[in-house]
């Protein structure tokens, strides 16, 4: 008996100690390699910008000479950092060395996830609307739901791209060498770039990102400033830039960003919440067509999410093109046999879901408190791009194509949702309970499907060797909404189709931007 006890105790102790020390988690984004481009893209200043009228629309003053006393002081600043470098500073250099576009995209994903929580109701059963003018008061601004997030990623990436074009343009114009070339005593903790270092491409991206992030997440300014300061410090410590490279880049990035901030203020997203009259009218229009309208299944009933987001100004097409060429045809009529068949299919999923189907539903759910489906596709892109040795400019260009397509996919999807105003499966069949959170907006077409169709199309263009994988992922993301019992098959199929269309507009743009 003593033996049994002894052995059991040993097993228990072994199990406990094993568990105690195996809690270390290695997160994927902490091991991205340093940016070390195969093609330097030194000509990126000639690529076609999205909003800038020319790469020199905003000026960047001529740099001081590398022989000047001021420049020598700046070299000494780097040396003083490098003389007593700490392990924390080395980690900082490694982290930011993976790329400015990548890291600022990640920062936005984090802020989206943080703010992707719907406001709690008022005592009278209405819901408060977050205010950009008072972002820290409850409900905090923004509610970073999928359309808001799609738009946020698009503005960030678009501004980063145009800022890179301007930055690379001035690099060619001024051709000032990097500090480690001027002074061989400067060590480089990152792969040596052959590009001129003035203005810093990291700093143009940072400057543009800071401005857009502050517009979109005004309550997080301190955090954003702190990350920007950290980024600059990492560049100095790394020996890749002197302070004037960074200051010039940051200023240029901010100037370019102002153009995007102005566009954002006028793109009609601010009015996308609508008002009670518009909400009632949308429902009445649907009833007038003889259809059963969508209703909120939340308690208390919450107004549908951003009913006028379909009216937001797109990047890839005008509103007439969207209505005539992008908007899908109508869904099966709610009284039709086809509709009944589709509803029955979702009921079956809600009753009987395999564990692999359930895993797919949860993998792609990207609901509350996550970076949303557009964020998921940003993560997929970032993970793949990190291994492809893109230049900073190419990162920016590829993320811009991806994210303007995602925003436009959101616009097209929301247009269809509120144009058709189709009810959800759980509304039409009360036996249906959902495996994932039920979104509070009309069913047709599926947002996940539209976003994923667009993203997969753009990524397949950028990384052709993985085209089939991206298409399979989009299909899974689309199906996940049927497994979750929140969408009909038509929503998913037409969503993907619409997404492909939007994606192809972005691919066409890619063919013409001079970066191929």
């Amino acid at each position: 008996m003593k033996k049994i006890f002894l052995y059991s105790s040993l097993v228990a102790i072994a199990a406990i100690s094993l568990m105690a020390c195996s809690k270390q988690i290695n997160e994927v984004n902490m091991s991205y390699p340093a940016i070390d481009p195969v093609r330097t893209d030194a000509n990126a200043g000639t690529w076609k910008p999205l909003l800038l009228t020319s790469p020199s629309e905003f000026t960047c003053p001529a740099p001081i000479a590398t022989a000047s006393p001021d420049y020598v002081l700046q070299l000494n600043e780097i040396k003083s950092f490098q003389d007593d470098i700490t392990s924390e500073e080395k980690a900082l250099v490694k982290y930011w060395g993976a790329g400015a576009v990548l890291r600022w995209n990640e920062i936005m994903r984090e802020l989206v996830a943080k703010h992707n929580i719907p406001p709690y109701q008022n005592p009278d059963g209405t819901y408060p609307i977050p205010s950009a003018a008072n972002p820290l008061a409850y409900p905090t601004f923004p509610f970073a739901n999928p359309p808001y997030a799609a738009r946020a990623y698009a503005y960030l990436s678009a501004a980063q791209y145009d800022a890179c074009i301007a930055g690379y343009h001035y690099k060619s114009v001024y051709n000032r060498s990097a500090p480690f070339k001027v002074d061989t005593l400067i060590r480089t903790l990152l792969p040596k770039s052959s590009l001129p270092s003035y203005p810093s491409e990291d700093a143009v991206v940072m400057g543009a990102s800071v401005e857009l992030l502050k517009l979109l997440f005004p309550g997080d300014q301190d955090y954003i400033d702190q990350r920007a300061a950290e980024h600059k410090r990492a560049r100095l410590i790394s020996g890749a830039n002197v302070r004037s490279d960074l200051d010039a880049g940051e200023n240029l990035g901010k100037a370019v960003a102002a153009k995007f901030v102005a566009r954002a203020r006028g793109d009609r997203a601010g009015a996308a919440v609508g008002n009670p009259a518009i909400w009632a009218q949308t429902e009445a229009d649907c009833v007038a067509r003889g259809e059963i309208p969508w209703i909120s299944q939340e308690t208390p009933k919450r107004p549908g999410m951003l009913p006028l987001f379909g009216k937001v100004r797109a990047w890839l097409f005008d509103s007439a093109t969207m209505v005539n060429a992008v908007r899908p045809g109508p869904p099966p009529l709610t009284g039709s046999q086809e509709f009944k068949t589709e509803l029955e299919e979702i009921y079956r999923y809600s009753k009987n879901l395999s564990s692999s189907q359930r895993a797919i539903a949860h993998f792609w759910a990207d609901g509350l408190n996550t970076y949303t489906p557009p964020g998921h596709w940003n993560y997929i892109a970032a993970n793949d791009f990190a291994l492809l040795n893109f230049s900073e400019a190419r990162w920016a260009r590829n993320m811009a194509l991806l994210n303007i397509s995602l925003m436009d996919a959101g616009i097209a999807c929301w247009d269809a949702k509120y144009f058709y105003y189709n009810p959800r499966p759980s509304h039409m069949d009360s036996r249906i309970k959902t495996v994932t959170g039920l979104p509070n907006f009309p069913s047709y077409i599926s947002g996940h499907s539209t976003f994923s169709g667009a993203a997969a199309t753009v990524l397949a263009y950028i990384v052709p060797s993985k085209a089939a994988d991206y298409m399979a992922m989009a299909k899974d993301a689309s199906l996940s909404r049927m497994y979750g019992a929140i969408h009909y098959r038509s929503d998913c199929d037409k969503g993907l189709e619409t997404g492909y269309k939007v994606g192809n507009y972005a691919v066409t743009k890619g063919h013409l931007d001079g970066a191929e």
Partner: protein
Amino acid sequence: MIPLLLLLSAQQQVQAQTDIDGLFMEKNFFCIGPTIGQSSWKEYWEGTNKRENLNLGRVRTTTAMVMGNYGVTDKLNILFGVPYVKTKAGAGQLAGQKGFQDLSFFIKWIAAEKHIGKGHLKGILIGGVSTPLSDYTPDMLPTSIGLKSKTAMLRLMADYQAGNWFGTLSGTYNFRSNVELDRNTYYTTQMHYTNEVRMPDASYINLRAGYRSTTWILEAFADQWKTLGGYDITKNNMPFISNKMNATRVGVHIKYETDFINGLSFVADAGTTVAGRNVGKSTNYGGGIFYIMDFSKKKKTDKSSK
């Protein structure tokens, strides 16, 4: 068994000889039986803020369980539990879940005994492990049936009985393994790019006292579960497995050993959560039937007569 699971639904417990009392099976006796219980809550603590959620209504958790306890010696028992759990939200659209939850296994040992005054004091050492029995998802709280963490626990217990009156105090440290989700990123107080969630460990204190004879056990208990780490649910967010879930509960437990069938006993429990953080303000009740079998060689012939 209590400390292994404490969701928003704060699992009920139904006890016979369990990992939480000072009772032991005699050598070669085996006690086994089914229990069933239900716990439910309508209000829950979102951080420290008590609220309702009209899109969940009353959340119910029903647990059916088989528990066993074998006397290796008079001073060393091994115990196990196999629970089947079903959850259901009374309002809203979210589907309930069901399935086998976590298998638990304990070793319980009287490390020291002493007569003090009119009574008898036992120092008991308990070690336990648990592991999920099915591939349920822990990522749909509050309707998930468990937290999916593999756990190990170490418990020190003092049990004092004088005449028919007793008191038992125990303190437990629960080690909890990381949990893997179906998704590859998640947000706590920051973004995480991994499917693995670091689970904070937890402590548990249990005090129980009452009347204990060969026929009846009538006792009241108070206990407190504390998550050592974790974070609060943000306003109007859904709960997450690594939240700081704390709960203080009180309850009663009754056991009746029948005289008409030797070895047959009935148990009943009820309890309620009086304070908490990131858990449901749950009330639970349940009952069970246990039967004691005698595997000792000397009495083998008697067994059928029991």
